[in-house]
């Protein structure tokens, strides 16, 4: 079983390696692909930034996970880079300048339970900015595969 999973991961990594900047975190190719008007659904780049602010508001209120983000330091910069990341994965054409998802989370020992807590914060933020649930799920789909980079424990 393990070797099968490893083969799958290897295939996935190879397909990423084919992209020019493999060390960087790139756009996810979801199946099926995201709605073509997803940026409009989200209220443009501004709407995405509002959502990230809401996301960090709910993360910092959640005692299961806030210490991870606090220990990482510089919340303002995390919000800035996250906004770039979300704009990029939704296809706004923004360049993400942060470290790759893999590198940024390598030493943090993030559990799936903590990852799911951030997903719950993500849904709370969608509701807070009055984003329809199905528009919210476009971003959930785009970010979901990062689980493999982020959850290391």
């Amino acid at each position: 079983m393990k070797s099968f999973l490893r083969a799958l991961t290897a295939t996935a990594m190879l397909s990423f390696a084919a992209a020019p900047s493999f060390a960087q975190t790139g756009e996810t190719a979801t199946i099926p692909s995201l709605d073509s008007d997803v940026i409009e659904q989200w209220g443009g780049e501004e709407g995405i930034r509002n959502w990230v602010e809401g996301l960090f508001y709910y993360i910092m209120l959640d005692n299961r996970i806030n210490h991870v983000f606090r220990d990482f330091g510089n919340i303002e910069r995390q919000i800035f880079l996250n906004t770039q990341l979300e704009q990029m994965v939704l296809g706004a054409g923004t360049e993400y300048q942060g470290a790759s998802m893999l590198a940024a989370h390598a030493d943090l020992n993030i559990t799936l339970t903590q990852f799911n807590a951030v997903v719950e914060a993500a849904y709370n933020s969608c509701e807070r900015i009055n984003l329809p649930y199905k528009a919210c799920n476009q971003l959930i789909a785009a970010l979901a595969p990062y689980k493999y980079d982020i959850v290391t424990k």
Binding site: M1, F4, L5, L8, A12, T28, A29, T30, I31, P32, S33, L34, D35, T111, L112, T113, Q114, N116, A117, V119, E120, Y123, Y133, K134, N137, Q138, I140, A141, A142, A144, P145, K147
Partner: protein
């Protein structure tokens, strides 16, 4: 009998395991986990496993991620014209890897059964059909292992979450099962389930292939005159995620024809004796009335998860012709408490 003993031993071992796990739980409070995202533990299907309403899914029951264990209790009530099905049970999910479940189904009958029961009882036949509230009780033990895949987060490939599982079902009303021509009162079922959520269009798909020779999920026994052993039957669930706490959808499960078309066996009575009495009772043509039928099952559901401790599922269930009663469609309610 040997089958029964084997199952008993297996469950003895499972109970020991449960006890061991519960014992270590007090030692390590963090073992207990509710880290899954709301609704992603699914609900309890009628056989007690995690899934939809009538189909087991590849998801592991409860809210534990791979970091811990979690469980739930459920009560399900199905109201049909000639039946009421109640199912009460519990299930545990371990490290999002395997689950154990137990449920007891109690099927009480009415309508046609009462009439047939009254007649046969008056004539002194042992059919297992009573003049009032003929009851079928069935114990269902289940186990499931997630083999690979992630139904939720693998949004960039088509690989579903895959699980394999089994049920051991033990029907207590052997007399009635003889009347209905079932070969066995107990049986094993094996299944493989594939589940995947497509977030870009908010839809969950589940396909399950079950290897079984059950009649009406085992409520009317296993095997019959038309059966040559177990067979593969398909099951399908489609769910649309309406909100993060609400799912609507439908399900279909394929049923067999083990006893389809055979009449019920009324011990010690020939139909000639019975016919005029049943006609008098308003049942008309006895050979038609007492011919068994079985149909595929359908349901259309709405499941609501107000929080991680509680969910409610309401459904319209169309279970078609059940044994000697046609057009059994009605209401389904299932409540689940997670801890």
């Amino acid at each position: 009998m040997s089958k029964f003993t084997k199952a008993g031993l297996g469950w003895g071992r499972s109970i020991t395991l449960c006890a061991a796990v519960l014992g270590s739980m007090t030692a390590n409070a963090e073992l207990f986990n509710t880290g899954k995202v709301l609704a992603t533990g699914g609900v309890s299907m009628v056989d007690g496993a995690g899934g939809g309403g009538i189909t087991p899914w590849a998801t592991i029951t409860g809210y534990a991620t791979r970091d811990g264990i979690n469980g739930d209790l459920h009560y399900t009530y199905v109201f049909l014209p000639d039946y009421q099905l109640q199912s009460l049970g519990g299930a545990m999910g371990f490290w999002d890897r395997f689950e154990l479940s137990y449920t007891q189904s109690i099927l009480t009958t009415g309508g046609t059964y009462d009439t047939v029961g009254l007649v046969t009882d008056t004539l002194g036949a042992d059919t297992g059909i009573e003049p009032f509230n003929t009851t079928i009780t069935m114990d269902v033990y289940g186990a499931k292992v997630r083999v690979f895949g992630d139904a939720i987060y693998d949004s960039d490939n088509l690989i579903p979450q895959i699980a394999i599982g089994a049920f051991y079902k033990e029907n207590k009303n052997e007399e009635l099962l003889t009347t209905l021509h079932a070969e066995e009162a107990d049986g094993w079922e094996y299944y493989i389930a594939a589940t995947k959520i497509f977030f870009p269009f908010n839809t969950l798909f589940n396909y399950t292939l079950r290897y079984t020779d059950a009649n009406q999920t085992g409520l009317t026994g296993f095997g019959g005159p038309n059966s040559d052993g177990a067979e593969f039957r398909s099951e399908l669930s489609v769910g649309y995620l309406l909100r993060k706490d609400t799912v609507i959808g439908f399900e279909w499960t394929q049923h067999g024809e083990n006893t389809h078309g055979s009449s019920v066996e009324l011990t010690g009575l020939d139909v000639g004796t019975l016919q005029p009495v049943l006609e008098l009772a308003g049942l008309g043509d006895v050979s038609h009335t007492l011919t068994q039928r079985e149909s595929d099952w359908f349901d259309a559901f709405i499941a609501y998860f107000p929080n991680k401790n509680f969910s409610m599922t309401f459904a319209y269930a169309n279970l078609g012709d059940i044994v000697i009663t046609p057009d059994q469609h009605g209401f389904y309610l299932s409540l689940q408490a997670s801890f």
